[in-house]
Amino acid sequence: MACGRARGLGGGVVVALSLAASAGLLGCGRGENPPEGKGAQGATELEALRWENRLLALELELASRGSPYFLLDLEAHKLVLKSHGAILREYPLQEVLVRSRRLGGGRLRLWASLDTVWEGARVLPAVRRPRVIIRADTVTPPDPSGAVNYLPPTPEEAVPTPEAFRVRFQGGRGLLLVRGEETPPPSPSPQGFPGPSVPVPSAGKASGEIRRPGPLTRVSQWFRREPWRTDAISIRLALAPSDLGALYRSFPGGAALLVVSGRPEGRR
């Protein structure tokens, strides 16, 4: 209705038209299908529905790609690695802070970076895993007793958990992942029976102590993280050390990230 009137006024009122256009879809929606409750509440519901549909459409597009992608829910403090819509790993977040530069359209860029997909993840410093090359003519027959001369390191030994690392995305967007507090192990269920989501204890846990990096290593890590290159939009996430290490060791390079900021109802 309101739309119709605004159009009826014709080309003279350009400002009114532009205002109507900016709020247009919502107003027209109200005219065709009036909400049951108050106007503002109905509008928020429509906003929420539109927001949900938009995120579903974005996730559907990511799921169709076939490669792993991340879903970062700022409000729920959760970073989830997914593929084809299925959860691969969940990383609970202890702290979330979103930072935008003041100049260079900082706020505009911030709004444009939320509820959208960040592309082309690049981990800094990159995880290095040197390959061992074995020449068949240098191989000696194994010890018949089954004794092993060389025991390769566990992932925790080969790539220790860093204090922090960065993930840079295209368009000056980035994540800074830092070491948070160690979370206590989950307490057993009060009934004494494991719940359906309680992990079954594994047969063998990885052994080997995690060594703290020395000062020289930490300085080189600082340089490799390139902290002097500040991102226009940066999200700082604090994770438990075990989660931080696990994420760092297996972060899929080039993965996309869908940043979910929060439902419109949160504004009320």
Binding site: S22, G24, C28, N33, G42, E45, L46, E47, R50, E52, N53, R54, L56, A57, L58, S64, E75, H77, L81, S83, H84, G85, A86, L88, R89, L97, R101, R102, A112, L114, D115, T116, R131, V132, I134, A136, V139, T140, P141, V148, L151, P152, T154, P196, P199, V200, S202, A203, G204, A206, S207, G208, T230, A246, R249, S250, F251, S261, G266, R267
Partner: protein, 271 residues
């Protein structure tokens, strides 16, 4: 903390610096000199300090940033972000925003159901296996529930080069991607490929019977195709280390849980 005269206590060094500055400021014009003996008027000093503050402040503002918590972010976000996301990200083919987008609640709800169904069609039905190569961990999941977390062994990443004959090369990596369990074999027999003999420094046999090895794959093998399998191991002490030729070795108890919950057709995600 305060001194005798009610003034705040400062360090002796800072007190000396403050005293010198006061003396310098109160000195007559000809005695007030800067670095290199250049005469400085009070006006020049004030102008210099103001200029330094201005330049410093501008730089601080330009390079500075604003920080928000998620709650603050939602509170200060403009409404137009929710109502029309035309400037944000890629548009959906479904027209969730922009031209041709559904406008009424009924249409929006219909659209949501359609998108949810399309997304659910991508997800695996029933339990599925997730392999984290970077951490040598295996997970058994069903929907949002985690049924198992275990320690495994994955590909060593080593490269084996044949130096004679065909001069072949093998890279012992566990491949990443989505796989389907093609078959589930109890008490599997391993037919050793050529690289297994080369790696042991033994001649490659010509008879098939000489390639067969019993018991080394544990109680079960879940075939993923292209020679890759999820199977048991005789060497559980090596679990957690990247030692395999591309297969995924699982402990006995964990393997039994996997076999109980999955079967041919189940999905396996390796990342």
């Amino acid at each position: 903390m305060s001194g005798e005269g009610g003034l705040p206590l400062v360090g002796r060094r800072w007190g000396r610096i403050l005293g010198r500055a006061t003396k310098w400021w109160e000195a007559p014009g000809e005695d007030r000199r800067g670095l290199g003996g250049v005469p400085l008027s009070r006006r020049k000093v004030v102008a210099g300090v103001l200029l330094a503050l201005g330049v410093g402040g501008s730089l601080w503002f330009a390079w500075g940033s604003t920080t928000y918590t998620p709650a603050e972010l939602v509170a200060v976000r403009p409404r137009s972000i929710f109502s029309s996301g035309t400037s944000l990200g890629p548009r959906s083919s479904a027209g969730a925003d922009g031209a041709g987008a559904p406008v009424s609640r009924v249409e929006l709800e219909r659209e949501r159901r359609r998108l949810q169904a399309a997304l659910a069609a991508h997800r695996p039905r029933g339990a599925y296996i997730v392999v984290d190569r970077g951490n040598n961990r295996i997970f058994l999941r069903k929907g949002d529930s985690l049924l198992l977390e275990g320690v495994i062994s994955t590909g060593s990443g080593a490269v084996l080069q044949e130096t004679t004959g065909q001069k072949r090369q093998w890279v012992f990596d566990t491949p990443a991607g989505r796989f389907t369990i093609l078959s589930e074999r109890p008490d599997p027999v391993w037919t050793k490929p050529d690289w297994a003999f080369l790696e042991e420094g033994k001649p490659i046999p010509t008879r098939l019977s000489e390639r067969r090895e019993y018991g080394s794959l544990g109680e079960y093998a879940l075939d993923l195709g292209d020679g890759y399998m999820i199977h048991g191991t005789l060497y559980e002490r090596l679990l957690g280390r990247s030692v395999t030729h591309g297969c995924i070795r699982v402990g006995r108890e964990d393997l039994r849980v996997l076999v109980r919950h999955t079967g041919p057709g189940s999905q396996v995600f390796i990342f």
